[in-house]
Amino acid sequence: MDNKKKSLLKIEGITKTFGKVVANDDISLELYEGEVLALLGENGAGKSTLMNIIYGIYRPDAGRIEIRGKETKIASPRYALNKGIGMVHQHFMLVGRCNAIENICLISKTSPFSLVNQKRIAASLEEIKARYGIDVDIHCPVEQLSISMQQKVEILKLLYTGADILILDEPTAVLLPQECEALFSIIRNMTKEGKGVIFISHKLDEIIEISDRVDVLAHGKMCGHLITKEADKNAIVKMMSGDNVPDMSGYVKQKPQDEVVFSCRGIEAYDDRKAKTLDGVDLEVYKGEIIGIAGVEGNGQNELAEVLAGVRKVIAGSISIKGKSLRPNRPADFIKNGVGYIPAERNGVGTVPDFMLYENWLLRKAHFPTKNGMIDTKQVVHQSIGAISEYDVRTTGPLERSANLSGGNLQKFILSRELKKKPEVLICSYPTRGLDVKAACFVRNQITKAKQEGTSTILFSGDMEELFTISDRIVVLNRGKVVGERVPEQTTQEEIILMMMGEKA
């Protein structure tokens, strides 16, 4: 560590609890000028909580914070902003209806009674855009921008306030590989000017690429400080999870059986904006087959997953399971006939955030356990406790609000709910998105285990490695049409990507 560098931020002994859960336990770290400090940890390790404390959203139960050598209490985000702390939240903090300029005006230090001078803000934004190489439309309402563009608006926001302690909470979780590169070059431009960046992630490769130092967080405790250049990848992973990295290398694909269990013909459907995004999709799924669906975001995968799970209307086409045709957009029909569904949105679609876990357990069930004609709550709680322990869902118990679970744990819970029904077909929409290595591997393992028991899976995924390791066939979607299919062992990632772009079939 270079001692000549000035300390921007130092925290010591931070502890924060939510009810019975200790999210942060005696955590200390220090950030210096001109460096990228990576904060690495699994889902639910307490990274976001820690950052929300630094940004003044949560109050710590104990601990002290120093900014540029001076002890201080961060009482509110406003105070943090005044002290030069800026944060890009995992879930963006933008007002959708407003454009970038208005969103940035909100965070500026001007008086509430001042007029909104869009031209002046726009001029200084253009200057910042040029200086850091950020390319984004600042006049368009942010809700119409893509996720990666919205992230750029967030970064502009920070730079506009002149913050020099920058917190990026899992900035790459929502980005495509090429978009990550652009983000990294922006980050490098920022550190060149002496700003300090705290970069949160659970993706090891990125951290090794971008960071100068790594702090590893596990189960709410700080368990290691490393210098990236000297660090050993395996050592970091071990620190993170407390044991060896699980991977799928031992997995041997079994040939699916010859019987077609699930098929769809000529599916056409609109997306939410009433644009036709599915334009005649045919699919046949064999018993015990894992079929991977690849496609660039927005080419109809989300809609196809919803149609196959029975939750989206179709314009035309038919779906059948074991020769029995299912009525589209009748979810109950699909559930009854053994279609399981892991939606992309865990909170809100997969579960009701305000429900307790055992209540969420009842969702997507064709039959409730009953006693005297009423729901047998005891039985439901008992079932959910069983699933929670079997699938290693880390929570306080079945009475926990599901919104309080971290992404990985919630996904395990949803997975257990669907798989316990022994579905014929499982529709999995981006099941490992945003999950850490361990949780993602757990999910993949469960899917392959279900395959051995005869469940077929339709796996929508943006993770090429995932598609190649576990699927038996990869079907590529482009502009709402199937443009081709390949067996993973007989193709390359490059070929699939070209097909996704629509350049090869």
Binding site: F18, Y55, I57, Y58, S76, P77, R78, L81, M87, H89, H91, F92, M93, L94, V95, G96, R97, C98, E102, N103, C105, L106, I107, S108, T110, S111, P112, F113, S114, L115, V116, A403, N404
Partner: protein, 309 residues
């Protein structure tokens, strides 16, 4: 139906519309910030009662207006405390409050003025002719020969619109109603802003009450608001949360009310109760016809919890 009938009708419509304008302008702001003004109805009653009381006892109409507005604002604090700080359901609190307001003002009215058939009348605000403009045929009579509270309501609507559209304060209010988490992360104190917005709404509802007693009726009668607070809520939706459009809609609903009164007097085979119900019926129809495809503030009516995840 001749020109003089229509002129008189719309002039009366403008006067009838003033309480609606005050109420809906305040509710526009409050709803933009995420708080529904279900309790405007009750606040109007409070405003009406206290403005009447003070104007009658002091002989000063302006003192009446001021106290009416303050009464509306103070009564809004009660609702605000429960819905913003204790995070209770705004609709339920609002409805309970409306019932309370009607009952409590009845109680005060009977306690202070006794049970009499005709309550004491006060001299209402006099119309002020705007030189020049009031000479324009029809329009002059309808818009430029009104009392001071009418002019003030229009000025208030325009200023409110400018503040909402052009200043940072307006932007912050919008953010608080659209995405309070983002507002918080930008350093806006969400609950305080909601409180201010809601107090403004109470203040204008109080003015609406004052305009009822001090420029239209001249006395206080029990449950004087007669559902105007709810019509204001409909106007706000119809006006897509724009105070100036709300102003025009207020004039429109006022004219329906004025027409209704005239139809009652004219006498017809239709029972007069039908005409009394007419404005409410039209409100319902308008909401059904124009109430779709709207974009309400996203977090309207949802209490904000600072540390929620």
């Amino acid at each position: 139906m001749n020109a003089s009938f229509l002129t008189a009708l719309f002039a009366s419509g403008m006067r009838q519309g003033v309480p609606l304008i005050y109420g809906s302008v305040g509710d526009c702001v409050s709803e933009k910030a995420g708080v529904v003004g279900i309790c405007i109805e009750g606040e109007i009653i409070f405003g009406a009662f206290f403005s009447y009381l003070f104007a009658l006892r002091s002989g000063n109409l302006w003192l009446g207006v001021l106290m009416g507005a303050i009464a509306g604002m103070i009564s809004s604090l009660l609702v605000a405390a429960w819905s913003i700080y204790f995070k209770q359901d705004q609709s339920i609190i609002g409805i309970m409050f409306n019932i309370f307001a009607a009952g409590f003002t009845n109680f005060l009215n009977r306690k202070i003025f006794g049970v009499s058939i005709a309550s004491e009348k006060i001299e209402t605000f006099k119309p002020i002719k705007i030189p020049g403009l009031s000479e324009i045929p029809v329009i002059g009579e309808v818009f430029f020969n009104q009392d001071i509270l009418t002019y003030l309501s229009i000025v208030l609507a325009v200023i409110t619109l400018l503040v909402m559209k052009k200043t940072k304060l307006g932007l912050q209010m919008l953010a608080v109603g659209e995405n309070p988490k983002a507002a918080q992360a930008s350093g806006v104190q969400v609950q305080r802003y909601r409180l201010i917005a809601y107090m403004f709404c109470g203040f204008t509802a109080g003015l609406a009450g004052a305009s009822l007693t001090l420029s239209t009726v001249g006395s206080f009668t029990e449950v004087i608001s007669a559902g105007r607070g709810f019509i204001c809520l409909a106007i706000v939706i119809l006006a897509r949360w724009n105070p100036v459009v709300a102003c025009i809609a207020g004039f429109g609903f006022g004219s329906i009310q004025a027409l209704q009164l005239r139809l009652q007097i004219m006498g017809s085979v239709v029972p007069h109760q039908f005409f009394i119900a007419l404005p409410y019926l039209i409100t319902l129809v308008v909401l059904i016809v124009a109430g779709h495809n709207i974009r309400a503030p996203k977090e309207l009516g949802v209490p904000f919890d600072k540390e929620s995840r």
